[in-house]
Symmetry: C2
Subunit: 329 residues, 2 copies
Amino acid sequence: MNIYLVGEAAEHVEDLRPHLAKPYNIIGLPWTAANTTAFDGDITADDVIVSLRLRRPGGTAPAVRLLHVPGAGLDQIDFAALAPDTLVANVFEHEIPIAEFVMARLLEWEIRAGRLQESFNPQAWPSLYRRRVPHGEMYGKTMVLIGYGRIGRAIAARATAFGVEVVAVDDSACSDAAASVMPTDQLAELQRRADYLVLAAPLTPATTGLIDAAALARMPAHAVLVNISRASIVDQVALFKALQDNEIGGAILDVWYHYPDAGDSAVIPAEAPLWELSNAWCTPHSSAWTTDLPRRRYAVIADNINRLAAGEPLRNLVRPAGGDSSRRS
Amino acid sequence: MNIYLVGEAAEHVEDLRPHLAKPYNIIGLPWTAANTTAFDGDITADDVIVSLRLRRPGGTAPAVRLLHVPGAGLDQIDFAALAPDTLVANVFEHEIPIAEFVMARLLEWEIRAGRLQESFNPQAWPSLYRRRVPHGEMYGKTMVLIGYGRIGRAIAARATAFGVEVVAVDDSACSDAAASVMPTDQLAELQRRADYLVLAAPLTPATTGLIDAAALARMPAHAVLVNISRASIVDQVALFKALQDNEIGGAILDVWYHYPDAGDSAVIPAEAPLWELSNAWCTPHSSAWTTDLPRRRYAVIADNINRLAAGEPLRNLVRPAGGDSSRRS
């Protein structure tokens, strides 16, 4: 069994190797291996491909044992081109850094420790000390989560430990120790008591524009909107106006309406200049962008390869053997 | 029963009143009521005093039913001046904002979201997005807590929810779900694997200067020291040198070696200019300085007054009836 790491995956040979039970050949291939037949002659039915993308001009990919996607998204995989017996698995783990990011930003929203640090002035210590302005706490606040999947649960587990009451709206999840889960038709009512409204739902026709002017108007004047999911869940013009008019307290925005692609050098992240508002905390889609994430992901991939070799069931299987093309994301 | 709020406590009449079971008289008195007999003629044996300080020049304070200190510290109370039947209680609750502060700063240490926010530039969006630098995570890190009292436990409960392994050193506490507790003689060994070393112990002869040059040398080069307890647990000159020479990763410092007092206008927070180092994050003793803290504390005080009136046991009793002057802090 050879393991082919394609494109960006080829940078992670040393994240994968130490976790493998046997000294397999690990072979890095360029991006062209994802979308052309250039390297297919080397690849056998006993091999594993790790790649974010897989397409073939002729519609027939090498009949490998396992295609492991080193991320959650499957939209770059042409399932129809895969051999019926090729297993497909993906990896998550990004819920951890995203939840850390959400908690970091909400704690900073309450505490403003960065500003306290900037204000530190040993020459003016007595007046600085005496004039300290009290800050806020997360304890006792209410967080409404839209979406209670992997990311929502990771956020809820952490927020609950801070004495935050977490209520999630999700039509296909159940309440657990970290959150009460309510049907989505309860959202309008729940929003009225949300100190924090956190978007952790996928972008679907039902969630596109879900947070519009009417929804923003239901939030308390001090409430903070957090979006680490997809920008278009929120109407950007309505959000800009609500922030500008202080109809809500603020917004923590890590996701954007437009992203750069290879041919588009002049793109801006949104039409509404949200970054001009002091109560909008804008970051460049960074929440899951950690050094630890690929390390954790390649450890999961190695574990799956070890399971494959040992004939054990794989984790995060999105297409079992036999070519059933049902897809979970 | 009248309730006398002395000095700073007099600002909290409206934090207390809504939680009282009966409409008691609540009377604000100036600071002079803490240390002189000026108002003693009005105070009867049926009353309650709420004050951070209580001393009398003649050594005899009014024989009230309850002296409630609206904080944790008892060093401003002259226990010998109290009548034998005066109960004394204090309040905590500061462990909540202190734990939030520690987690906020450690998350920011890993994520640097403030810097990401400052870097946000819609004109340079494509290059900003493509050149994002991966950040760190708390997940999987090891936190060594020195001291596993109220504050240590509040920190551990939160850190554990982030997948941090928490080990505490404390000779009088037990392991629980949030932390393994080890005897203090294990500290030197534990320090070697501490990603975060958090000081949550009181200042005693045993802890004064505990973190000296030798202790700092045992920490990993990336480790972060967090002090929200008392500055003098750490040798400031050794800390300055360890930070300057990058022997440790950084320090989060909210407590200081010198504090202003009424007659001392030129005091500086420390002799070693820690604030000049970019890897020392200095704040002006702000961790517990929240708007919610006094509200929560006066709710506890009101609950104790209600318990007193109902003949029920009080919370946080530091001196029971009969004048036993044993003190817990």
